[in-house]
Amino acid sequence: MLLQQLVNGVVAGGLYALVALGLTMVYGVLRILHVAHAGIYTLGAYLGLVFYSASHNFPLALLGAMALGALAGYLIQRLLYQPLLGAPPLVPLIASIGLFILLGDTYRLVFGAQTLAFRAGVAEPEPYRLAGVAITGTQVLILAVAAALLAVTWLVVNRTRIGLAWRAVATDLEIARAMGVDAARAVGLNVALGSALAAAAGVLVAYHYNEVFPAMGDVPAYKMLAIVVLGGLGNPVGTVAASLFLGLAETLVVAYAGYLLPRDAIAFVALIGALMLRPQGLFARRGT
């Protein structure tokens, strides 16, 4: 039973990590709370649905959604965030919230308010059973894709020139520019990669729960913000740790403590408690 809950918790945490990682990367280079990131997540789910129903090829749908999600993210930072750099933090935050609710309504108008089925007519195959733990094929898929994407992101951030440029921009934009870093390009690629991750999470969630609806980004939007703050804004490793922590905490609290609080409020209770103890986030680096 415990093992089963741990598996479920890690799957939830892996999905959180994909979305939250993009959010924290964007915050790292732009210092903007990118609320509209969850709009990209929903966009990914819809794009995945469109591609999947056209091709019935899941990898193709995943890659297609990620590519267009990356493009959407790039356009958002180019058209909305770049002009607002240097404004007080409240200005881009409000703009991002505005974009988020605008995106939600756009999906409703384009795709309809009803919930769409992702895998029309295809039933979930029997779960694999291993030592009393049931794990579905979708859960395996989620874990595999999430792990692969997180690994790729880690490599890009830590082992490539563009990753180096991101870290330089995140540390000090002006000095990075002075050292010859093409900041605009670095930021654009950063948001694009982060958005691709969110779009991938959208496709996986849509496939897992077999549903896509306009407001599916609402709960993730708030929860991801809680996670990146818990993880120390702008800190990728802390964010992944916080995602797994929250996925496990939610699953275990719901399984063993019953419904003291709705699952989705746990993130905020943890967040408020943690912020009171450590105002800079749980996993914030010293000196930042």
């Binding site: 404004a87 007080p88 933090p89 409240l90 309504d105 609080l261 912020l275």
Partner: protein, 292 residues
């Protein structure tokens, strides 16, 4: 006639709530993304007292003020520890937790909320409109007083540059708490009116979307001024009534407005620098520093 009275009550409540949000965000510069929750606390206080304890509706007003202001004091306490982005997320989180507690605690009526709330005999919709308008006027008066008092000067200093305000000897902690307590308490005062106007209270009604609606009104009208908050609340409150189609595309319109205002005119329609001739040097408003 009845229709206009009902719309009037809603507008008066919007004005009250937007003005109270303006005290925290416009004067004090503290982001707040969960303002509707304080209305919810006030409304639930009134609903609980009336249905469970048989308290007169009139007496729920001070209680609603106290409970909302008390929660505001707690959030204000958080604002002493966390800043800007972190504070924005914290206020949003408080809103979520408040709604979740109302929705999932059987004591508060659970998912069904609390219904059957009627105003005392003699208070019909017209009287309710007068009371709501009175509260809006009272909130405007408090804002007006606050703008002219030492507290208001300190708050603006705090908004424009917290470190400088502190260096000049302003006790920023006290003034932040003051802004939160007054702003949230006034939002709570709108609760009893809201409760009997609708006849029931339900947790999700005080959620993030309502909070964002209030923030949109304040930002659209212009943060930091009474005229801005009133204009934002009246224009955006009336818009769905005048243009029926807007209520179908509410989030599209509100979202688009927020984006456009931030890109083109972060000070809002009637914000702090709006009535000054272009080219004249003027006081820098916190949010208007972004204006090119």
């Amino acid at each position: 006639m009845y229709y206009y009275v009902v719309v009037g009550i809603a507008l008066a409540l919007y004005v009250t709530l937007t003005l109270s949000l303006n005290i925290i965000t416009g004067y004090g510069g503290q982001p707040t993304l969960g303002h509707a929750a304080f209305l919810g606390v006030g409304a639930y206080t009134a609903a609980m007292l009336m249905t469970r304890a048989g308290v007169s509706w009139w007496l729920t007003f001070p209680a609603a003020f106290l409970t909302a202001a008390l929660l505001g004091l707690v959030v204000g306490g958080a604002s002493l520890r966390v800043r800007e982005d972190f504070l924005a997320i914290t206020t949003m989180g408080v809103g979520f937790v408040v709604v979740a507690v109302f929705q999932y605690t059987p004591w508060f009526g659970g998912v069904m909320g609390i219904g059957g709330l009627v105003p005392p005999p003699g208070v019909d919709k017209v009287a309710l409109l007068l009371i709501a308008t009175g509260l809006a006027a009272f909130t405007a008066l408090v804002s007006w007083w606050l703008e002219r008092s030492w507290a208001g000067i300190a708050l603006r200093a705090l908004r424009d540059d917290e470190a400088a305000a502190e260096a000049m000897g302003a006790d920023t902690r006290r003034f932040k708490l003051l802004a939160f307590v007054i702003g949230t308490g006034l939002a709570g005062l709108a609760g009893p009116i809201y409760a009997v106007h609708l006849g029931f209270v339900s947790g999700p009604d005080f959620g993030f979307h309502f909070s964002i609606t209030l923030l949109t009104m304040a930002v659209f009208g212009g943060l930091g001024t009474i005229r801005g908050a009133v204009a934002g609340a009246v224009i955006l409150g009336l818009a769905p009534e005048v243009f029926r189609f807007i209520s179908d595309y509410r989030n599209l319109v509100y979202g688009g407005l927020l984006i456009l205002m931030m890109l083109i005119r972060p000070t809002g329609l009637l914000g702090v620098t709006s009535l000054r001739l272009p080219g004249l040097p003027g006081r820098k408003g916190g949010i208007s520093r972004a204006a090119p």
